[in-house]
Symmetry: none
Subunit: 195 residues, 4 copies
DNA sequence: GATGAATGAGTCTTCATTCAT
DNA sequence: CATGAATGAAGACTCATTCAT
C-alpha cells in the first residue's frame, strides 16, 4: 500500500494511525474493530481501506513508526557521548523518557511481543536496539569497565528492567520518569548489593 | 461454575484446561476459538460449557492454577533458607526452573499482563509474588546487606529481568535454565559492573 | 407418558409442575430452560424426562390441569343457581376469584392464547367454558331477560372483560377481587350507560 | 441505532420491519430467528444488524410504529366529534377497523402484553390510549351520560371487549369488522341486558 | 477520495434431549 | 428412579473486507 498522498491524504492517514493507536492500547488489538476506528473518526469504512490494506497492516505500521522514533531519539541522545558505560546509562534514561511520552505505543509494544503474529515484526526493531546495546557492552567489557559476562544476556536483562519499571512505575503509578530512571540505572550498573 | 464432578468429569476438565493452555500459548487467546478447543479434543461444544461458564473463565482458571503452582514451588524452595539475600537468589533460580518447565503457562502470563481484561486477575497473584520479594528485600536492607533503595522498585526490576531472560534465552534460544539463572542472579545482585 | 407412579413419584411430578408454572409465568415459556427448572429443584436432568416427554408436554399438562380446575370451580358455584342471568354473574365472580388465587396460571393462559403452538390446546378448554356461558345466554335470551344478540359474541365479550380486568386490576394493581368483580358484573350486565 | 440512511437504506429497513412483522405474527417472536428473516429476504446476516441493534430492538420498533399508527388513526376519527359517548363509540369502531387492517400487528400486541420483556414498551402506548378513553369517560360521567363508576376500570373493560372480539371474530372467524363493532358498541354501552 | 450498504464465514453461547452408570 | 456427562444443531451477534454509487 504505497499510495501517493495529497496533503489532506497524509493528514487522514495520521488521524487513523493516531486514533487506532489509542484504541488498540485501551482495548487491545483484537477487541478493537475497524468499525470502531472509523466511527470514532466519523468517516466511512472505505476510508480505512483506502489508506491501509488491512487492520493488520495498520498495526504493523504503527509499530514500525514507533520503533523508528524510539531509535532515532536514542541515537541522538547518545551520539555526543564517548564512554560506553555512559552510553548505556543514557540509553536507559532515554527509554524511560520515551516510555513516559508514549504510553500507548509502549503498551502496544508489550502486546506485540506476546503475540505470535506481530512478534517477528517487532523483533527486527528490537534486535536493532539490542545490538546497539550489545556493542556498547562489548566495548565496555573489552575496556574492563564491565565484568566479563555474555553481553547479549546483559542487554536483555537491562531491557527487561526498563520495560517492567516503566510500565509499573511510570504508567501505572505515575512516578516521575527521572526517578524511575535513577533506580533503573543504578540497578543495572550495580545490582541490589551496590558497590 | 462449581459443579459436582465425578472422576471422569475431573479428567475432562483437566483435558480442557491443558489443551486450551497449549492452544492459547501457540495461537493467542483471541485467535483461539472454543470450537478449535473442543474439536481438538473430539468432543461436542456443549462439553466446554458444562465445565466452564465462558472462554474467559477458562482462561482465568488457567492463570489462577499457574500462579498457585509457581508460588507453591517458590515457597517450598525458600522455606529452608534463612538469609534474605539467599532467599532472593533462590527465588530467581526457582522462577527460571518453573519457566523452563512451563513454557506455555509462562507465555500466557506474558499475554495476560498486556491485556486490560486479564491484568487484574493476574495482578492479584503477581502482587503476592512481589510482596514476598519486597519483604525479603526490606529485611536485607534493614540488615545492611542490600543498599538503601525503594524495595518495591527493586522487586519489579528483578521480576523484569527474570521474565525477559527466561523468555528470550530459555524459551527462544533453548539455553539451560541454570545458566540463565546464574546470569540473572549475578546481574540482579551486582549489576553489570560487578563488585 | 402415562407412567404408573409411586407416592414419591407423584410428589416429584407435582414439584416439577408447580415450579415450572412459577418459572414460566415469571420468565416466559421460551426463555425458561429445562435446565433452569431442574436446577431450581436441585435434581438431575433425567428426572425431568422421567416424568415428561418434553418441555412442551409439561406446559400442555399445566394448562390442562389449570383449565380443569377453573371449570370445576365454576360448575360447583353455579350448580345451586337456577336463574340464567345469575349463573352468568356467578360465573364472572368465580373467574375473578380464581384469577386472584392463581395468578401464575392466569398468566400462562394469556401467554398460551397468543402462541400458535398452544392455542389449540387451550381452545378446547376455552370453548368448553364459552359454551357453558353461551348456553346460559341462550336461555336468558329465550326468556327475554337478555336482549337479542349473538350469544357467542356476548360470551366472548364477557370473557374479554374478565381477562382484562383481572390482569390489570387484580394482578397488577392489587385491587380486591370482589371489587373488580362488582364492576365487571355491572359492566357486562348494563354497559357503561347503566339502566 | 439512528443511522443516516439513504433512500435505498430506508427501503431495506422497511422490508425488514414488514417481513419480520409477518414472521413474528405467524411463528411467534422467540421461534422466529434472525436467520429466518434475512433468508426470507435473500440478504446477508449483516444487513439485519446494519439496521437494528438486536432482534429485540427490531420488535420494539415494530410495536412502537404500530401504536403510533393506531393512535393517529383514532385521533383523526375522533377530532370532529364533540359528544363524549360518541367519541367512545367512534374509538371502538376505529379499533375494530384497525384490527381488521392490521391483523399481524394486532397479534404482536397480544403477544407483547403477555411477555414480561415487552410489556413495558407496550404499556407506555397502551396507557396513552387508555388515558384518552378515561378522559372521555370522565367527561361523560360528569355530564351524567355515563353512570358513576371508576372510569379507569370502565376503559379497561372496553379495551378487553375490543381485543377479544377482534381476535376471535374478525381474525379467526372472518366476521365483518362493522358487525363486530356494532356488537361491541352496544355491549359496552348497554351490557347484555340492554336498555 | 469517500460513503453507506452488503457479505457471510465465524464467534461465543444455549438448550432440548439422550444416555451410560 | 436419579445423576452427571455429552451431544450438536441452532441462536444471536460480530467483523474484516468489498463494492456500487
Amino acid at each position: 500500500m504505497a499510495r501517493r498522498l495529497t496533503q489532506r491524504g497524509k493528514e487522514r492517514r495520521r488521524q487513523l494511525l493516531d486514533f487506532a493507536t489509542e484504541r488498540f492500547a485501551a482495548n487491545g488489538y483484537h477487541p478493537t474493530s475497524v468499525a470502531e476506528i472509523v466511527e470514532g473518526l466519523g468517516v466511512g469504512k472505505g476510508v480505512f481501506y483506502w489508506y491501509f490494506d488491512s487492520k493488520e497492516e495498520l498495526f504493523a505500521e504503527i509499530l514500525k513508526e514507533a520503533q523508528a522514533d524510539l531509535r532515532r531519539r536514542q541515537q541522538e541522545a547518545i551520539e555526543s557521548v564517548d564512554d560506553a558505560v555512559s552510553r548505556i546509562e543514557i540509553g536507559i534514561r532515554t527509554s524511560m523518557e520515551w516510555a513516559a511520552d508514549n504510553e500507548d505505543l509502549f503498551t502496544l509494544f508489550r502486546f506485540a511481543i506476546s503475540e505470535e503474529e506481530f512478534a517477528p515484526a517487532l523483533r527486527a526493531g528490537a534486535d536493532l536496539a539490542v545490538s546497539d546495546a550489545v556493542r556498547h557492552l562489548e566495548d565496555a567489557i573489552a575496556n574492563g569497565d564491565v565484568r566479563d559476562a555474555d553481553p547479549d544476556m546483559l542487554a536483555y536483562a537491562i531491557l527487561g528492567v526498563n520495560i517492567h519499571l516503566a510500565s509499573v512505575f511510570i504508567h501505572e503509578r505515575g512516578v516521575a520518569p527521572a526517578d524511575v530512571a535513577d533506580l533503573a540505572v543504578s540497578f543495572c550498573l550495580e545490582g541490589i548489593l551496590g558497590r
